[in-house]
Symmetry: C2
Subunit: 406 residues, 2 copies
């Protein structure tokens, strides 16, 4: 007997029948003697519909109003869920961000949770209620509605689990767990029984869409065990948890890819201190995130600088960088969005030499040219030509024997 | 220079283009040097869509959750309106019920406003903002979302105008004012320049759909001048205000009709004290409103009791009344929903004799049989056969010369 937080994504609550299916899962957990908190996303497609309304209203919608607009999607699903649960004889209450309350900073569209008041929820749980919380939303100190960014409902769920000291946080989605790589492009992909927070974080940040990276950071920080499960099947699941001995044996746990990448190269840059800052400050001022940055060895006082941005930001980034390039006397700006990033992730990597070499050789054997490389302790990412994405994933999956449970 | 509250209904904000049209009206008022508060309904059709979702989720949706669900409609329009205004260079802020805050009792689906905190709105007005308030919604003392009943946005607007001491409250709708009767069934209908609160209230309660009765009561109580205007034209308009001398000349100001009526007759009821209570208490317990009640002269210890209810309540009312009739020894229960109520309204009526006689004779001359009559100081209502509704309205309009401005 404890407290379980269950989070369901948009495809799990896409219509009334699916909402009833989710209600049945919550009831099962309740009947097993647990207190239950459900966290919901908006119906699949609803957030996109609201965003498109906002952009019909203005090219650059006011961010405060934008957040208050798109937060209605979750308000609809949590109230419908509570209606269903009450009609089945289970006391249930919906909670919006301001009702909990989930306090955030006031960075609209990507707010961070600063505090969760657990009083009202605890009171309802003590009355025997199933508590249904709107994911993705909070309020700042002035009661303005904020949202937590795409996938923010994962973070809502983990944060509630942490604040209320839940025994676990179940993230229900349309796949039955975390895989060694995307099963849609690699038939040998294998579901992982367990994965460490750090590996999951790298996977989420390099292209795996199953969890929002911030939710994994938070789970790690507060040591919340997270189960990734399928809404539509009782089989499978992956536990995201602390590193343990068993995990450390695995050199590489997963392979991810990200085709939402564009590469920008600035050539023949005068190699002076402060040049990189000159280039990247104007980008950050326009809220363009830069991912990988590579500076080639300087020769004769000049250097080449290459970096990647999101595909959607490429055109704007190009304009900004071309202006800067002119000012600082660089020669040329070249852009290329026909690229992809492929990454291998594994906590065991740090204690095994030759992992990088094996990755590069495997791709070379297939004639895949590597344009950029970046590494962390538990990750190696390579930018390659986009058309080789699937091939690279498949040969790397084979090379590191990910199809076999170690 | 003062404060103007402008309320727009669902057809006025049915899509982004219409929202932009409304924004232009608010900007014009702002440019004229006034502080502006806009109160909005949900997009036409949206509240019905949400209600139908609720009823797909459960036959009898939990009322707390139902209110929180349908209040999202107004949240969408106020945020879109603020996005439009901000993009046009006018600072604008949306306010939901909890942000204002608009405090209500906790009678879900028909809550009454008990207090409006004007602090946050005043602060925004002082900053030069156009303030955009979600109509129809409030919160109770525990921060549960409540709604004010159909047409509740009218009440939100008048209540805000009263609380903030606005110089006027403009109710924009799809007609250009209040007419002597429905122009759709009587081509001679004439727009009224002015009408008293009391007359407007009687008209709203007897079938005119232009204003929610509660908003008129509130306007009267706090002496808020209400202008009913068209969103789509700058012509016309009707001022709802205190009685003045000019008005008193008019014996009859308007004619209304209501086809949403059903008549229930209980015959041969033993005429004992408490019989009426026996009949009507079970109905009120099921929240069925009874409109007109007529008790015929009793003969030989028995009486006939006839009353009207909303058409949608007829079947349920019939069942309840049949059970009671049996208990109290009445003979028969007859129902008839092929009826309509036609009313004439005018503050001058009280000082003119013969108005009722003229009404009855006008209908008799056309062979229209009157089934029930009820009167107030400024209103006479008759229940007639439904098929005579339009005829009755037209001949009464002629008989009282409503086509001419007096």
């Amino acid at each position: 007997m404890g407290l379980v937080v269950q989070k369901f994504g948009g495809t799990s609550v896409a219509d009334i029948d699916k909402i009833k299916n989710v209600a049945a899962k919550a009831i099962r957990e309740k009947q097993a003697g647990n207190d239950v908190i459900i966290v919901l996303s908006a119906m699949a497609g609803e957030t996109d519909r609201l965003i498109s309304l906002a952009h019909k209203a203005a090219d650059t919608p006011d961010e405060r109003e934008y957040d208050a607009l798109i937060s209605t999607g979750e308000q609809v699903t949590v109230t419908l869920m509570s209606i269903v649960l009450n009609s089945l004889g289970y006391r249930a209450r919906s909670f919006l961000g301001f009702q909990v309350k989930i306090l955030t900073d006031n960075a609209y569209k990507k707010a961070r949770i600063s505090m969760i008041d657990t009083g009202a929820i605890r009171e309802e749980l003590n009355k025997g209620s199933i508590v249904v919380v709107a994911g993705f939303q909070g309020v700042d100190e002035d009661n303005n509605i904020t949202t937590l960014g795409r996938g923010g409902s994962d973070t809502s769920a983990v944060a509630l689990a942490a604040a209320l000291n839940a025994q676990q946080c179940d993230i229900y989605t349309d796949v039955d767990g975390v895989y060694t790589t995307d099963p849609n492009i690699c038939s040998k992909a294998r579901r992982l029984e367990k994965i460490s927070y750090d590996e999951m974080l790298e996977m989420a940040m390099t292209g795996a869409k199953v969890l929002q990276p911030r939710s994994v950071e938070m789970a790690k920080k507060y040591d919340v065990p997270v189960y990734v499960k399928s809404t539509f099947s009782d089989e499978g699941g992956t536990l995201v948890t602390k590193e343990d001995e068993e995990m450390e044996k695995e050199v590489v746990s997963g392979i991810t890819y990200d085709r939402d990448q564009a590469k920008i190269m600035v050539t023949h840059v005068p190699d002076k201190p402060g040049i990189a800052a000159d280039l990247f400050i104007p980008l950050s001022e326009r809220h363009i995130s830069v991912d990988m940055i590579i500076q080639n060895a300087s020769a004769a006082g000049f250097t080449d600088l290459t970096f990647t941005v999101s595909k959607k930001d490429m055109k704007e980034a190009q304009k900004i960088v071309e202006a800067t390039a002119k000012e600082i006397g660089a020669k040329k700006v070249e852009v290329d969005d026909d690229v992809a990033k492929v990454s291998i992730i594994g906590v065991g990597m740090v204690s095994h030499s030759g992992v990088a070499a094996k990755m590069f050789k495997t791709m070379a054997d297939e004639g895949i040219n590597i344009m950029m490389i970046s590494t962390s302790e538990i990750k190696i990412s390579c930018v390659i030509q986009r058309k080789y994405t699937e091939l690279a994933v498949m040969v790397l999956h084979d090379a590191f024997h990910l199809e076999k449970k170690k």
